[in-house]
Subunit: 308 residues, 2 copies
């Protein structure tokens, strides 16, 4: 099954205690689609400027991502984000944001994209998310990500967008903020009352928690001695998660608790590789074998009731 | 096998968004020994004042805890702590601390206590921890807890105490602070280089991470819709953990990865019950059946690779 993602395609400048890059391929739709590409056909949708060239297209195409939905704006410049991290790598500090072509982005979807069965609305303006959701009528499984900015400034639009998807991926602090409920279990239930059957609360270095129906699953993050650059981890996580579902019957798979849990584990695997190097560097050369190996390590580090 | 714990025995005044108690039984040694009492024989050691009466002794004895090591100081008053929590229940705010009899505490251990095979040094001054450790020569398994105060003010003593135990239980932020290493995996390894073979990093609502040798295990916290009072959760966690080990051959058990992991799961079970009500209220009336039930729930909420 195929999966489309609509979101930002960017150049990022990132500085962490472990190094820096002045200009590298980034953006939520890029990280998402590279991660998902290991499991299903992926269409990436978003605007870029004239500065977006063969090298950048090449990274996506190398992983088999369909780039027909990338709209290249003549005379435009690609979205640019500059940020840094201190030793607390959970906290990104934004130094510069230049929306550029993203400022006037109006998603115009091809028939190929409109007919996908699985859709991810990366973290963009909730009204744009709704415009895309309405066009993708055939998508039986849709997920979205969002952030504190939209909770603050566009809460009603965001709630409408949330009510039209099946899964949401948000940081746990944002789930609490959206619902104004300090307890995460209650907060997740309040989000489910808005519509989605599945709530995934991302918890950074602590992993993630999954709520569906009245059930709960949690998985720690993979323990890494060196996290070089956390940028894109959440999108790689969502890409591995939804990509795995899309590769296993999509909406049907999302009804199966164990498939859903494995999807979250694959998401965690992809996020863990994402942060090992800068930007897309590690995931771009990742192999399926490496993914499965780390999946097995996740099993080994979470079991407690097997015979010794 | 028997297990001794040396630490504070207290009266606590606690206020949370879900209620308050003006004066209730508390203290690290109390929470620890009640939790451990489900798995092994427990001796509790610590000083109390004349205000510590039959009711308080009764709570401990009801659970079979040996209270002979409680030193009752004539004319003295029991350690008193007052604190409150906001909606972020991870953060305790101290409003008052009255050391009282705890201020002059010099552990005088009975022969019974000196000969225990398993020992827990709750969060007290590291030099007191060392005095106890030296007296308990037969303890083949010893663990300790500590806090930011001692890292700041008594680092050398604390490192000496740590070098004389087998397991440490600390909050993850404190493990980082102690080692001045922001990455938890590296920080845990640095602690192991000080001596202990096992490092348990407590992570509050996110659960806990276990490091032993070059291996890693992590467990989420039990998802609760209502946390009424987190006071004592860390001590109940350590009590369930070390109590389970003491009930399963102590030092030998601590060499078995699956026993160690199950110990952490029982610790998490005890911590989860601890926080459901104020002070010792919930654990005091807990049953072994309820413990095993929640242990099974931990299994259900962490597996991801069984057939659906």
């Amino acid at each position: 099954m195929s999966l489309a993602v609509v979101g930002s395609i960017a150049f990022d400048a990132v500085k962490t205690p472990f190094g820096e890059r002045e200009r590298m391929l980034g953006g939520s739709a890029v990280h998402f689609s590279l991660a998902a590409s290991f499991f299903c056909d992926v269409h990436v949708v978003g605007p870029v400027g004239e500065d977006f060239g063969d090298e950048e297209y090449g990274v996506l195409r190398e992983r088999g991502v369909n780039t027909d939905g990338i709209e290249r704006i003549e005379g435009g410049k690609t979205f640019f984000w500059a940020g840094h991290y201190e030793y607390d790598l959970n906290q990104a500090h934004t130094d510069d944001t230049q929306l550029n072509v993203f400022g006037d982005f109006e998603p115009k979807l091809s028939d190929d994209v409109k007919s996908v069965e699985n859709l991810f609305l990366a973290n963009i303006h909730p009204q744009l998310q709704m415009k895309v959701r309405r066009q993708c009528k055939d998508a039986r499984l849709a997920g979205l990500d969002s952030m504190n900015l939209w909770i603050d400034t566009e809460r009603d639009s965001l709630v409408e967008a949330i009510s039209n998807v099946d899964l949401i991926f948000m940081n746990d602090a944002e789930v609490r903020m959206l619902t104004q409920e300090p307890n995460l279990v209650r907060a997740a239930r309040k989000v489910m009352q808005m519509g989605p059957g599945v709530v995934v609360a991302k918890q950074g270095e602590y992993g993630a928690a999954l709520f569906y129906g009245d059930r709960f699953f949690a998985l720690p993050a993979y323990p890494l001695e060196t996290v070089k650059d956390p940028t894109g981890a959440g999108d790689s996580f969502a890409g591995g998660f939804l990509g795995y579902l899309a590769g296993h019957d999509g909406a049907t798979a999302a009804q199966d608790p164990m498939v859903l849990r494995r999807a979250m584990t694959y998401g965690s695997v992809l996020a863990s590789y994402n942060v090992e190097e800068f930007g897309t560097e590690r995931v771009a050369r990742l192999t399926r074998g490496e993914i499965d190996e780390r999946f097995s390590e996740f099993r080994r580090m979470t079991i407690f009731d097997e015979p010794s």
